[in-house]
């Protein structure tokens, strides 16, 4: 090869490739396989759908064996978004862990935060000491987050079928709630707002009115979505009897969430093993019997209304508990987050800094030790579940008595539910794969963690 040949990239020199493992799809029995395929002359094609396909909700890779338009075999390949969050959490303090786990399922970040913090509190044995107002704020945020997550599911599901208006309406409605998140937590996603022992800070003044206004407009957009979707003959044709997974299949594969409830079992962790005081809220767990993609859409819409019903109850409780603490009283656990708005935005309260720097050396030492070392958690292990928009999210935490998790494992519902891809898609059309996967609503950030 001449050196004057123009190249887009540098040519590879042999000395650079020594020591790099090479893989070649040749030799072995590949020629036999190719020969057999040529001899049989079938119209059997293996198609890789993804990992960069717009209808796979991120980087899901579907390996489809198709015969004409029929899918004869479907496999899901994951791992393209694996970032080692669980491993990283073993190298940070218990409080810093929240910042990591919130990034797992980025469409429903507050659920990871809540589940993780509940697990840490169980390990510390302070579950009953968490103030009521903190639990109410957690429920408020989780239910608002459930609505946004379901809206993303419906919006992207519609978009994948070419119904762009469903997407724009869904995302517009979600925007109303993201504004509320921004008001309360400061961020639209990756909040790290729920902390072991409570929440980072109280809701700002005026947020209850803002949430009421947001709920009114979300209700308006949900009506629009219903009008667009529920009587739409194209959606009926595309979704009904597609992606069927009956109750026995769901139980065998450990499927939870709207997919399990669409098969007729009203299993919801909020009812089965209540946390954050869910047993004191009035809400229903909608179910249906059809076990197809259509019933999952209807269920998700209905769950949005149930969540709004819970949010209304939390607003009443927030008014009643105004001024009460939002973090445990134990100063050995409570993160010292005395925040205030300064000239350059939200930051540490100057009064608090003046107090610890100027008047109380013990407070300064305590602040320093808690922030740099963190608190110690007694040795042991716990498992804590919460009802995630996609199913049961479980957190398995192991402590060795130190200031960092010894092991943090997240049983993400999307990870488990993706196992149903094969059974839902095989035997159907290629176009139905998109519908079936959308009805599982996987978020690959949570799947791969």
């Amino acid at each position: 090869m001449s050196t004057t040949t123009p190249h887009a990239t540098r040519p590879v020199h042999d000395d650079e490739t020594t020591g790099v493992p090479m893989f070649e799809a040749s030799g072995g029995d590949w020629s036999d396989i190719a020969e057999e395929a040529a001899r049989l002359g079938e119209e059997r094609i293996v198609v890789n759908m993804g990992p960069q396909h717009p209808s796979t909700h991120g980087v899901l890779r579907l390996m489809l064996e198709i015969d004409g338009e029929t899918v004869t075999e479907a496999r899901a390949g994951i791992g393209y978004l694996h970032t080692g969050i669980e491993k990283n959490m073993e190298f940070r303090t218990w409080t810093q862990g929240v910042t990591f786990c919130t990034r797992m399922d980025y469409v429903a970040p507050l659920f990871q935060e809540a589940a993780y913090c509940l697990a840490v509190e169980k390990l510390l044995g302070i579950t009953d000491d968490v103030p009521e107002r903190a639990s109410v704020i957690r429920v408020l945020l989780m239910e608002l987050n459930r609505i946004t997550s379901h809206l993303v599911c419906l919006a992207t599901g519609g978009n994948e079928l070419g119904a762009t208006t469903i997407m724009t309406v869904g995302f517009t409605a979600r925007e109303e709630i993201l504004k509320v998140f921004e008001l309360i937590t400061g961020l639209r996603m990756n909040h790290a707002f729920i902390r072991p022992g409570g929440v980072a800070q109280d809701i700002p003044p005026g947020s209850i009115d803002t949430i009421r206004e947001a709920l009114a407009s979300v209700r308006h957009y949900l009506r629009q979505l219903e009008d667009l979707m529920l009587a739409n003959p194209i959606l009926h044709l595309r979704l009904k009897n597609v992606g069927y997974l009956g109750l026995s299949g769901c139980m065998a594969l450990g499927i939870t969430g709207p997919v399990l409830r669409s098969a007729g079992l009203p299993y919801d962790v909020r009812k089965a093993a209540p946390y954050c005081g869910y047993e004191t809220y009035d809400f229903e767990v909608p179910v249906s019997q059809e076990a197809d993609s259509w019933s999952r859409v209807v269920l998700r819409l209905e769950e949005c209304y149930q969540s709004m019903h819970i949010v209304e109850q939390t607003l009443e409780r927030l008014q009643r508990t105004a001024g009460q603490p939002v973090m445990v009283a134990d100063k050995k656990v409570a993160w010292p987050a005395q925040l205030a708005i300064g000239a350059d935005g939200m930051g540490n309260s100057l009064d608090h800094i003046r107090e610890i720097m100027g008047t109380s050396m013990e407070a300064l030492i305590h602040h320093f030790k808690l922030v740099t070392e963190g608190f110690r958690v007694p040795a042991g292990q716990v498992f804590q579940s919460v009802e995630h928009p996609r199913g049961e999210l479980g957190v398995h935490l192991v402590s060795d008595g130190g200031t960092r998790p010894y092991r943090a494992h997240f049983r993400d519902p999307s990870f488990n539910n993706l196992q149903a891809t094969s059974i839902m898609c095989e035997g159907g059309q290629v176009a139905d794969v998109v519908v079936a996967v959308a009805s599982l609503d996987p978020v690959l950030g949570g799947v791969d963690r």
């Binding site: 493992p21 893989f23 994951i78 791992g79 694996h82 080692g84 669980e86 491993k87 990283n88 073993e90 190298f91 940070r92 169980k122 390990l123 044995g125 139980m251 065998a252 594969l253 450990g254 499927i255 939870t256 079992l265 299993y267 089965a272 093993a273 740099t372 070392e373 963190g374 110690r376 040795a379 042991g380 292990q381 716990v382 498992f383 579940s385 049961e392 479980g394 398995h396 192991v398 060795d400 008595g401 130190g402 200031t403 960092r404 010894y406 092991r407 494992h409 049983r411 990870f415 488990n416 993706l418 196992q419 791969d448 963690r449």
Partner: protein
């Protein structure tokens, strides 16, 4: 400068007499004896997870507090004694009955029962894990029909049972949840696969294999799931480094997270 460092090192050695031996080998008889007084009376044979020395948990620097000689073994909650409380007794009784009837034998299959933080853990012998899972799922009085998957834990200090697989199961019928834990030594990392009982554990077992190197015998396709197929090593094991590079920020260099000072 270098003299200064040597002095510091000498000082550190002086206040930490046990430091001369390697860090990992400090699980000694004296350490166990010293820590024995921290053990609650009702819980007997304990699994030492780690041994911690000094007052503040910082490694690599001299502990000048005078508590540098303090040695505390880290132990997980040990076996509980009856009554376990609530429905735990009933579940263990029924499981014992079922296992004794079908010939597995409760005493052989369940090594210990741990009740901690209102959660029930059964430590199961690895050769009987499938039988226990089958009994937990199929008996109408147990009926743990929903599996929430498997998670691995690596305890490098538990010689002979370094690798743990923890199975989480839920009974929707009875509204109960428990977990059973199986161990395998590092030298023979094999556990029978439970996919025949709980098909849901398929991907979860693949994940544990991928991250910990635990081989689930009888699994229909035990391949890596999160890491690339040609990845060397099992990243979630404690002896696998986190990795990372130092980052320069405003003139100061911040070391990667696993090389920063830690206090555990």
């Amino acid at each position: 400068m270098s003299e200064d460092k040597d002095l510091k090192k000498d000082a550190a050695d002086a206040v930490k007499p046990g430091e001369a031996t390697t860090g990992a080998q400090r699980t000694t008889a004296t350490a166990l004896e010293a820590g024995g007084q921290h053990v609650p009376a009702a819980r007997t044979p304990l699994e030492v997870v780690d041994v911690r020395s000094g007052m503040f948990g910082a490694h690599g620097t001299g502990d000048t507090s005078g508590f540098g000689g303090l040695v505390v073994p880290v132990v997980l909650p040990g076996p509980s004694e009856r009554p376990y409380g609530g429905w735990f007794d009933e579940v263990v009784d029924v499981l014992a009955e079922v296992l004794d009837e079908n010939g597995t034998g409760f005493a052989a299959a369940v090594e210990s029962v741990v009740v901690d933080r209102e959660e029930l853990t059964l430590h199961v012998a690895r050769e009987h894990v499938v039988a226990v899972a089958q009994a937990l799922r199929d008996d109408p009085d147990l009926r743990f029909e929903l599996s929430l998957g498997v998670s691995g834990v690596h305890y490098p200090h538990e010689t002979g049972k370094e690798l743990h697989a923890v199975y989480h199961v839920v009974s929707v019928t009875h509204g109960r949840r428990l977990r059973f834990e199986v161990t395998a030594p590092d030298g023979d990392p094999h556990i029978p696969s439970t996919t025949s009982v709980y098909p849901a554990n398929d991907w979860h077992e693949r994940e544990v294999f991928d991250f910990f190197g635990l081989v689930f015998d009888g699994h229909p396709g035990l391949a890596r799931i999160e890491m690339p197929d040609d990845w060397p090593g099992h990243p979630q094991r404690k002896d696998y480094p986190l990795g990372g590079i130092p980052v320069e920020y405003k003139g100061a260099t911040v070391p990667p997270p696993d090389q920063r000072r830690s206090y555990s």
